[in-house]
Symmetry: D2
Subunit: 290 residues, 4 copies
């Protein structure tokens, strides 16, 4: 199967390499075209515009950095829309439900087929084909894409109508944000009541709530190390969007709301660009800024 | 080494069997003495009273059902206190810090040595010697007990002064209670915003916050199955005690406080004897009782 | 001074009557023109369209039911915009900051002068000229309008740039919503701990936190009477908008967030169309809907 | 009627002066007896011990500084208990429900009659006879004391069994503490979103939630003036006790819980001895202590 691939950033490059290595023919495009060279060396073809890639391939996958870029490759001149009639487009970028729905409507109204498929997992799982794929949109396209998804990820889900992939990410990130607060509160409580927080990390890791996040971030947090894997301001934005989703559906979520306020407090302290585990800092002894 | 063992309930029986199987001489006592027979068949001796066991053994371990039982074997007639001078006593029951301190003071003031050592883990880890042991009190006694702890658990911690074992359990349970609320909110949000909550369970289990509790309890919760592994009223009591510990130390814990109020809401709905995952029920559509 | 008046609903009618009785010349318009008759009997002139009113009067006041109506009289055919060059427009409707800014920009870009001036107070204060006026926009217009504001209200404020009037209402309503929750929690706590909630009302009304809202709504709440003065769904929307304003400005507001979740719980119970004091119902004994 | 009066602090002195001025015969006692002189000049007799006062008077009122002092005058040598048989004792000090019940049991078991009657209001209402009296205990004694209560307060309540007076104060203070948080959040939100917080104070004072606390404390708060009328640590203690009362009765109070955590945050910042309005400080821009 010939597959188009738009966007060769850290994620997109790793994913298209995987496709090539697993026998797919791939035609790539990137805004800075020179980034395509490395893929060409592995056997890829190059398209000069998104429209050209879509014209050439039955299925085109996009992996772009943000909603603005995702909209741009579709709607701009020489963009996806111009050649989409009868073709398939899978957007694996992380975007909000509104952006995803806007792209979906444009593509389907032009006679194209659309799937949103944001992923869980970052650079390393992308390289090793261990992503988790949250697909939603046209079921037939999902099924057609399974061979590619099997190469890119360890597991893929079909979640129903467009928007559901984005919603699933919000729900997961909301739980993650509340857990990070619970964890931080526990670390502070341990410390101030005379326990060694490192002992707490060890005890947690041996019990029923042991999880990779506590294991991975705990030791760094105890050293005030918050180098950003997932920036706090993005985590807080996802909490806000998840709470907004709850608002639409009249779901009361007091724990998530309390966690969100703690992330806002962290933003007010200037911690928005650090890792979201920096919410831990809001719980330490504080004083007014002078 | 000869070890005394007081209390042959589910936990205590499994633990003393492990000691016997691993070459320790064990003298057992239980309030209902007939429960000792099975241990005798495996080579144990029997003491007729706690005092007799303590007199005979250098180290005596207790594993009792609750604070009242823990106090009773120490302070009652023919109790531990009567023969404790120069002997060692390790209370592995789950009790609050106050009870533990009361027992500690009585024993050390009579010339005995004391260690509190509550465990994390229930029946199965007790049988397989996979408990996690949270010891606190006399360091020398902890070190002397390590051979026994190595048989009973997969890992033991020495946490400092008496009370710290109980505190560590409170901190862990507080984090667990907040996580259960975050998880429940996520399940309800998924459901009401058109996602399949079973998909959420699968997605969670593939990511960075995957943990045994979500994996173990999630499917049952989606079937309204709350058979009590850890009763909600006890979880809420531990949240209250952890918040009280935070109050003493001026630690603000808004997420734990919000979770605690949800558990209280569950109690007001009559769910206190179900598993603590029944807090999920407070988040569903509710109406007034007539 | 000749004043135009657009919108003769409950509020607008009372306000234009006040202006007439206090010696202002008034030209009125209403979508259903027959509503103008009563004002004509008191001496008013009638304009056939918003544009006609604006053309005739130096200052035109609008008091419309919602943002959609506020936008319609400005932007529709024969609307305010068509004749606004060199004229003054004061919108006293309750609208969100975005709507207000949109109207402001359109009017000023056409050479008109704009003031937003939402009010605090409903029917009775409108009739007795006891409104509180929250004006923002062009300072010179505010000063020119003071004689009219003195007739319509007991107090007017100039709050700076357009949007600030709407923001001030959000802040006030957010405090009000949190207070209603605090009050409801107190009533339930009193009741369940063996006190008479009516005694609590009396004690509150004699102390430092006595206020008209507790005094006015408390007795009705104790009779499960929630006839809607301010519908709960609107209160919850204002809490949401106030929290969003806090989000923009990185202000952590955990009490308002907890109150908002209680209002959402009330919405999920089907109480959105009742008075916002119905949040009290969420705190009573609840059970699942069957 | 002859009335005994124990305790001539700020409150007690003002109250006994009021009784004297209104025709009651009063016998006073104070730990530092010289403080009685001023009362003697107004016509009072002096008792040398609490026991002597109780022996002489049918009804003795106590107004002491704290639970320790309240217990001391009753249980110490030459204390109230020694002469209480057949006599009446009204404790108007502010104490917790447990202290009140302890005093009540001792007095009634000796054949005395008991009423707890804590007051709402401080120095000025005490001087002007404008206190609010929250009585609980023996109904017949309450009725007998009404002439005295009419002199001391503007209103008295009979609230049922002993402990209810203290509980009513907790409920009122809980509502007050949540309101103070809501108010503080509003002031910060106003400030950071470009409004003048003084305007907010003025707008609030003209509307449905206007109350003496906002009016009295708002301007001082905006000047960072927190001279302690009611210390924050006491307010937080009352929040904690009110939440504990809710816990006993399975009442979920998420707004009070969030407010309590904010007060704890304030304590962690070293603000416990300032007025409880200093919780406002927790909401400003904060940074870590170095």
């Amino acid at each position: 199967m010939e597959i188009g691939f738009l966007g060769l950033g850290i994620m997109g490059k790793a994913m298209s390499v995987n496709l090539l290595k697993n026998g797919f023919k791939v035609t790539v495009w990137n805004r800075t075209l020179s980034k395509c060279n490395e893929l060409v060396a592995l056997g890829a073809s190059v398209g000069e515009t998104p429209a050209q890639v879509v014209k050439k391939c039955k299925i085109t996958i996009a992996m772009l950095s943000d909603p603005a870029a995702a909209l741009s490759v579709v709607f701009d001149k020489d963009g996806v829309l111009e050649q989409i009639c009868g073709k398939c487009y899978i957007d694996m970028s992380t975007v909000d439900p509104e952006t995803s729905c806007k792209i979906s409507e444009a593509i389907t109204s032009k006679g194209g087929h659309f799937l949103e498929a944001p992923v869980s997992g970052s650079k390393q799982p992308a390289e090793t084909g261990q992503l988790v794929i949250l697909a939603a949109g046209e079921k037939a396209l999902y099924e057609e894409a399974i061979p590619a998804f099997n190469v890119l990820g360890k597991k893929s889900f079909f979640l129903g109508q467009v928007g559901n992939g984005a919603k699933m990410k919000l729900v997961v990130n909301m739980i993650m944000g509340s857990m990070m607060n619970a964890f931080s509160e526990g670390l502070v409580l341990a410390d101030r009541s005379g326990l060694n927080p490192h002992d707490l990390l060890d005890v947690l890791d041996l019990g029923g709530i042991a999880n990779p996040m506590f294991r991975g971030k705990g030791p760094a947090m105890l050293q005030d190390n918050y180098s950003p894997a997932f920036p706090l301001k993005h985590q807080q934005k996802d909490m806000r969007l998840a709470l907004a989703l709850g608002d639409e559906n009249a779901v009361s979520m007091p724990v998530a709301a309390a966690a969100n306020e703690a992330f806002k407090k962290a933003r007010s302290m200037g911690l928005g660009d650090l890792d979201f585990s920096a919410v831990f800092e809001t719980m330490k002894i504080l004083k007014h800024s002078s």
